[in-house]
Amino acid sequence: MKLSNQFAVVGHRLPRLDAPAKVTGSQIYGTDVMLPGMLHGKLFRSPVPHALIRRLDVRPALAIDGVRAVITAADIPGTRYGPAVKDMPVLATDRVRYVGEPLTAVAAVTAEIAERAAAAIEAEFDPLPTAFDPETALAEGAPVLHPDWAGYAALPMLARDANVASHSRIQHGDVETAFAACFKVYAHCFSTPVVHAGYTEPRAATARWEGDGALTVWTNGQLPYEVQATLADILQMPVSRIRVLVPGIGGGFGGKLRIGLEHYAALLARAAGRPVKLIATCEEELTAAHPRQASLITLRTGVSRDGTLLAKQARVVMDCGAYAGSGPGTAAVALQIVAGPYRTPNLLLDGLAVYTNKLPTGSFRATAGPMGNFAVESQMDIIADDLGIDPLELRLHNIVRDGDTGPAGEPLSAVSVEECLRKAAQAIGWDKRRPGPGRGKGIACGWWMTTGGSSGVYVKLNADGTATLGSGAVELGTGALTGACQVLAEELGLPLASVRLAPVDTDGVPYDYGAQGSRTAFSVGNAARAAAASLRQRIAAFAAERFGVAPERVSLEDGHAVAGEHRISIAEVARLIQLSSGGLIAQGTFINPPPPHDAARVMNHPLPAWTTPSFHAHAAEVSVDTETGEMTVERYVVAQDVGFAINPTGIEGQIEGGVAQGLGQALSEELVFYEGRVVNATLTDYKMPTAMDVPPIESILVECASQAGPFGAKGVGEPPCIEPLATIANAVAAATGVRIFSAPLTPEKVLRAIAQSEFPLG
């Protein structure tokens, strides 16, 4: 691996800034927040999937000693909220749409009293017809989950229709004509289940109303400014009256993007006149959080005799559950994923987010990535095998290259799929694809965006010569902000140890689009660069005046401003400027504009052209016990283009963790439903990989520099989670000769497929 070591701080394997706090237990997380006089909140949730509320009686709860407040929809503003469609009530009003929908909230002096009180609430329902899966919800005469859907506020570009929360399309060429001229057309259907992000810290929120009527909220949510804006909407207050603080976060992976418990804490605290804290239970996490959508993807691909892709048609259906959540964006982004990093002259791709009577969904690391990639990359292998072409060769024959355009007609640059594929193939030993009975290797490639959105930072130069970075992006655990601090340190000529992060507090740190979408180190890093440039100028001007030289002659080296013989420490500059003019604080901002695209190709799509895409390839060797269907991942290799590795250790950590999550989705993770109810809502039954399930993961960092990223970096965090599902499916197919079309690939499915296969190779 190339080590980018011409720099002093970036490109180096430096320990993350928060590591000492985390290994000593002194890091404070959302679940740790405690306030004087604090009460504990619990929610009473719907036991039925779709019904009108006939009776709701909270008096039994109020009669319990220690209960301080009980609220229902009648006690609060009737605002609906949601990131794409404002369809979700805070508490159910006239009807419930999923098992687990909050009906009332209770605050009491202890969590156990609150729980007892919530359980004492009485409710009766009149059942409504249900739609538990998208096909039912899309059928003629299906129950409409949101009779008032047309009146909901929504993102203006969304196309909605009753149970269809959004319908996006990417189209160019003419697929039907192209299919008619193809040597072969392949059609397959793939499905994936609802999976949970599985962060180890449950969602938690604590709220306190201040004497002046302002609200303070402590949350472990990923987007403090979105929490603030959503609360302002729900509570009908100006944003400036809501202060959001984020202490540590015990993982998010997208599952903590959307508001979760903050509004209940705020409303209960207002009703009780005391601070209120809520922590989601494990059962609530698995039955009523914001997991990844289940998907159903139908893919038709037409090829010439030599395997050239000529046309692709896809219908992607995302089951967004009872409320749209992140479903519209996920269904739309799926279209770029199913197009894949391939040249395809004719495309017709439709993405639908569909309401069902299941728990609402959100975002989970690379939203539509694993689902779409599973479909495309499984089908690429099917096509290769059918045409008698090596799967690697089929990919190399069709991948996009520099100067090609993406599905929306956007120009592509810094394209590195070939390098990723070749490096992954070489590392796994692709020339021996079926090394023995029951053993096989799989490969898959893909692409992903470095999400845009604006970042603001301030950088304060302290009187001891250190710098403080203030950002509204939060440290989820990825280490992205250590990366941003490395960029800042590099630019200021300081060691990393001289940079620290300001606490996240919307009253004190600038806006940031947030820790999401593989953008944090990239975007905050660039904003920090801009702030550093401004600071350098001001330091140089100050030093130049003192030295009696021109500012251009002053450079920053080892914590000093230097010009020839002249030398002054940055600490001294900071101290003197503090005395003379209130100190040195600089603002920096950054936004990565999307590339130009052909608007005629893209309909009703919130992200028509991806900013700074990254490319990657995964390869695995799997052994399958053909007696039991049990699969063991023997080796796993990732070649990922990171543009520039700001911190190789941190990036490897992202790759290893993302692959582990991807392997969970490939092999064991699934929320299982019976009539809309999650039946495996414990961590014993919802099977996330343990240390014994994850093989050592070999990371190859490809550095194909981007134009826009700091030092050429590209987004890193989400991609590792995209390809594992397809990679494992392809490896299992190579090992056994059977193809599994639905995730997870359980031993049962593999065994059944082997039994049904006429010519098992194992």
Partner: protein, 161 residues
């Protein structure tokens, strides 16, 4: 309710507390004593983030009654090592990038410590470490850097505190 007086020895210090007999050790540590370094998640001994050492053995404090700990030695992450005097496992976790979000880290550290203490002088094979920590879920790291850190710590001599 009639709370019971209980004397707990935690990180070498005595704590006099009044507890309900059904309270878990985790609840007493976090919510009564404010020792929040021990984390809470599933509360049913499935995730392992609440692991502490009881007489040197790793236990899930979420399903251990506080009253069962009378007269026994409890070690939490706060007692493992402090800045300037870190336990070798803590230093290795920093050096290897073994903590990401850090929420499982206290539990991982204590599980690892109990394993190292039970196998003095052994530099473990990675698979033995994977088995030792299999009861603690980590969703960030894929476990690799945790395994590397524990193997490396096993080979290090603990600096005298």
């Amino acid at each position: 309710m009639n709370k019971l007086p209980l004397l707990l020895r935690i990180n070498g210090e005595m704590h006099d507390v009044l507890v309900e007999q059904y309270w878990s050790l985790l609840h007493v540590l976090r919510d009564v004593l404010g020792l929040t370094g021990t984390k809470e998640n599933c509360l049913e001994a499935e995730c392992g983030v609440c692991t502490v050492l009881l007489d040197g053995k790793a236990v899930n404090s979420c399903i251990l009654l506080a009253v069962q700990c009378r007269g026994r030695d409890i070690l939490t992450v706060e007692g493992l090592g402090r800045p300037g005097n870190l336990h070798k496992l803590q230093q290795a976790f920093i050096d290897y990038g073994a903590a990401q979000c850090g929420y499982c880290t206290p539990g991982m550290l204590l599980v690892a410590k109990s394993w190292l203490d039970e196998h003095p002088g052994v530099v473990p094979e990675p698979d033995a470490v994977r088995e030792a920590i299999a009861g603690t879920l980590c969703r960030c790291t894929g476990y690799q850097k945790i395994v590397d850190a524990i193997c490396s710590a096993a080979a290090r001599v603990q600096e005298p505190g």
